[in-house]
Amino acid sequence: MRRQALIALLSYWRRNWLQFFTLLAGLALATALWSGVQAINAEARASYDAAAATLGEGQYTQITANNGLPIAVEDYVALRRVGWLVSPVVEGRLDGVRLIGVEPLTAPQGIGTTALSIEAELPSEPTLWVSSGVSVDGVTTVETPELAPNTAIGDIGLVSDLLGAQGISRLLVLSDQPVRQPPLESVVQGLNVQTPQGGSDIGRLTDSFHLNLTAFGFLSFVVGIFIVNGAVGLAFEQRRPLVRTLRALGVPLRTVIAIMAAEMAVLSLLGGVIGVVIGYFIAAALLPDVAATLQGLYGADVGGTLAIRPVWWLSGLGIALLGGMAASASALWKLSRMPLLAGAQPRAWSMQAGRGRVIQTIAGLFMLAAAGIFALIADGLVTGFALLGTLLLGAALLLPMVLNAALALGQRLAKGPVWEWFWADTRQQLPGLSLALAALLLAMAANIGVSTMVSSFRQTFVGFLDQRLAAELYVTARDEEDAVALEQFLAGKVESVLPIEQIDVEANGLPAELYGPIDDRTYRDNWRFLSQVPQMWDIVQAGEGVAINEQLSYRGDLQLGDMLELPGITLPVVGIYGDYGNPIGQVIIGREVFKELYPDSQALRYGVRVLPEDVAALTDQLVSEYGLPEANVINQAGIKAYSLDIFERTFTVTGALNWLTLGVAGFAILMSLLTLSGMRIPQLAPLWALGLTRGRLERLEILRTVMLTAWTFVFALPLGLALAWVLLAVVNVAAFGWRLPMFVFPTSYVFLLVQALIAAGAAALWPALKLGRTPTSHLLKVFANER
């Protein structure tokens, strides 16, 4: 009997292979999306260490000479001889190429070798490893795509010879040091230790990118769950009459449920396996971009190939099984409580969803309330993600209610019987479509949320770069005497010279860096403030107020108008500026006050404002005429352009993932519509009999889906923005301690709407065409046959 029941239940699929395919494809796609994102994430994280750096800039504590001059080899040896594990780096430019010499015996693991270890061919002559297109006269070169552009790297001996360098540019301090070390000053004087601070380096911003991917993985998981749920729910709904018949023939309910549960488990696993494979290809296709992104960010190798990691394999299968079983659990539960004869008709379209909808609405409101509470108390990543979860689920649960209200409004405003019917009928379709629409809602919200986050991120970053790297050139004097001469040399040749001077102070008892910039339009034009009083720069330069960075304002709980106590002076805060990625507090006071407080301070670094076309000539003058070492002149425009390019690549990845999520949601709609189309005929036949052509009905069916999508978008927009807000203002703050300002990008949302409408229209096309091509005899049968 069990066998017969099994055959009967399975025979359903033979006659409905399309539905079987959609169910399997739904499971597979949801799994694919999840495991694809997981794969990328796992790969990115696994590459994290390897990608640490081509050269370890920003990763290691570094030692440089205070005067900016090279460090003597003897000083290096002296440091080594007392137990300082440091490794020398020689750096300079040769015909515009950045040459880096490392000492491979003492260099930290991975420095300079990560990129190089792949080409294991042994050179028999002095060799430089170069980025593509670079050549150096008289030296064998090996192209290494992993290197940052226009860079060559080689042994310190070779590079020193090429550069004619005397001494060492800087020392990398290894992270593991022996137990006892004498203080640096007692060994060599005049050296300066720079800990790898966030500072202006972008390491912390890139962490945010990782979080970004994690959030995307999470969102795609939720979308996936909804799709699986929808597919399974409909498959069960369709087999109700069959179940009734089987039970009428004496098959016990428990047997039926057991068979169907086993069937679901097998299907879920099958779909899961297919999905993981698809996910692998998705990830493999996207990985070059991820690799490019990370490589750009860290300047090191991520590897363009994908390793198969059990973590995401298993998590992919897990989600398929979990999703499939969770979805069938509710369907089976419903089945078990159904009276024998009731529900022979598929009721996906029934008006009886009424009571369920009330419960769902209450649950949704409850979730949103919980989200509100989380928003108030959120102080860590866990609460941040809980906030995300409750917000999304709440919104998804409320979607049918919101759409129903919107449709009821449409119905009230409708003119003419056909449009009245259109709205009424759409309302009736809602329960059958609501899961697919919820998936669409989440896909669009994720799309809006993540792209808003990434865009805000980029805008902030660009603004930050503009603010911090406003000057065209940065030059460093060798010592204080040199600085005075340099100022004189530059005076008159350039638009303005901005001394960069910094004193470590305590501000309201907190450690902070004190700056006293001159009054220049560079600051007035480029600096952006989170909040400021009018005429802020005038007040600061008049010595009547200070500007502080966001970190200090958070840490010291300082608002505009609060007093800030500095050594020797107390001034009100008149401006607060964003300072992304810097963990240390900063204070800006007027130039005159600064000079009064620190008359002996002499800047060694300068920002130089000069017309962009004069940069090259001035660099030349500084090096050949004035005699400044090349390494002391930095062209920031190049660095800026390179950094921006990196963020464009970040976009490529998020963009592709956005399309993918949307595509999967579109597929969910297609699936639901196909399943519903069988039930649609009796609903549409009377209209046809009353004089509506099939062509008209077909167009109305497409319009219905497009319209539902548009309404869903209207709901998704605020949800997506809320999502972005949570990511930027809650999760980011919890993770990194600073808040990214949120920028809104209306045109990209319009573009998304168009994208979504196209996807929905495409999804509706096939079922509608199928309906439009229904033979009249099928329509007529509705009126004559007992179904």
Binding site: V73, E74, Y76, V77, R80, R81, V82, G83, L85, E103, P104, L105, T106, A107, Q109, G110, G112, T113, T114, L116, S117, E119, A120, L122, P123, S124, E125, P126, T127, G154, D155, I156, G157, S160, D161, D176, Q177, P178, V179, R180
Partner: protein, 339 residues
């Protein structure tokens, strides 16, 4: 392969490593070869011999703490030449590698340092016995090395003469005639401090210095060696090694308490592994039967800490041992070429 060794291969024009254990089986083009009948010249020969491919300053010490516990200490400086010359500055072809270890009954701490010649970061003096790499130092009066969480600082004093192995310091390593120069100072009294974490331990004991240099000490088919330095309670000492290859090749030196030596050629000295033990590297024999019938010696040598594996760029086993049987005492065991 370790990334740093790889980097070494990549960044130097000359590639010398690659075959046998740490490349000791390569041929000797351009490098000087040890000659029978060489007269040692001190203190010059305490210093480096850049015209030879490979050289080491190797100290092992058996120590006892105030608490009665047994400890072992190793201090090694290897020199490896990529070309048979020395040059000043970065262009020096001399590469230095330091290994240090501190062994207790249940722990084994190791550390490794690299340095290049020509700049003074690592080297050896020809004025007296003095070798160093970074802050690790060795001379006849003191010896110090450290890792991230351990360190030793030991005072040494000579209590006997230098000892020459083989034919007055010409030590043959295979039937084919490969050889090295090899002398020792096995009479070093030790007093000093071990530091493990925050704990200082006062120790005393004795140390044994080996000096060896050559250009091709191993035959092509030899894969590794087992080397014993044993100090017996009656004051006599024994150095013996067994080179594993197509045929096993052994050699030994019996050292009387007053420094007098007897050299034994291939076959006289026998060492048979009795028991293997897992380590953090491969499985290696940690219990040996050692025999020198001509001296009536038949002893069992067992490791104080079986897991004395050196998980460094060049990997091998090196640790203190105890001796029981016809003679009792302690010593050091080194086993290379296990995989």
């Amino acid at each position: 392969m370790n990334a740093r060794v790889l980097a070494l291969l990549l960044l130097w024009p000359l590639a010398a490593f690659g075959q046998g254990f740490a490349g000791l089986g390569s041929d000797a083009d351009g490098f000087a070869l040890p000659q029978r009948g060489y007269t040692f010249d001190f203190p010059t020969d305490h210093g480096a011999h850049p015209e030879y491919r490979i050289e080491w300053w190797y100290v092992t010490a058996n120590l006892t703490g105030d608490d009665g516990a047994e400890y072992g200490v190793q201090w090694t400086l290897f020199r490896s030449a990529l070309a048979p010359e020395e040059a000043a500055g970065w262009s020096s072809p001399q590469v230095w590698m330091g290994h240090a270890a501190l062994t207790t009954e249940d722990a084994h701490f190791t550390a490794e340092r690299f340095g290049r010649g020509g700049i003074g970061q690592a080297g050896a003096s020809d004025q007296q016995l003095s070798a160093w790499i970074d802050d690790w130092e060795l001379d006849f009066s003191h010896m110090t090395a450290s890792g991230t969480d351990w360190r030793y600082d030991l005072s040494l004093s000579e209590t006997g003469p230098l000892v020459f192995h083989g034919a007055e310091g010409y030590s043959v390593k295979s039937a084919g005639g490969q050889a090295s120069y090899y002398y020792s100072q096995p009479f070093l009294a030790v007093d000093g401090t071990l530091t493990i974490g925050n704990e200082d331990i006062h120790v005393t004991g004795n140390a044994w210095l080996d000096r060896e240099w050559s250009s091709q000490p191993l035959a092509e088919d030899q894969s590794g060696w087992d080397w014993f330095s044993l100090s017996f309670d009656d004051g006599d000492k024994l150095m013996g090694f067994r080179l594993r290859g197509a045929d096993t090749y052994t050699s030994a030196t019996w050292i009387d308490a007053d420094g007098g030596t007897t050299a034994y050629t291939d076959g006289a000295f026998m060492a048979e592994p009795l028991e293997n033990s897992p380590t953090s590297g491969p499985e290696v024999p940690v219990l040996w039967q050692v025999q020198l019938p001509e001296r009536g010696l038949d002893v069992t040598v067992s490791a104080i800490n079986p897991d004395s594996w050196m998980p460094l760029t060049t990997q091998y086993w090196e640790g203190p041992v105890t001796v029981t049987g016809t003679h009792t005492g302690r010593g050091y065991l080194e086993m290379t070429g296990y995989e």
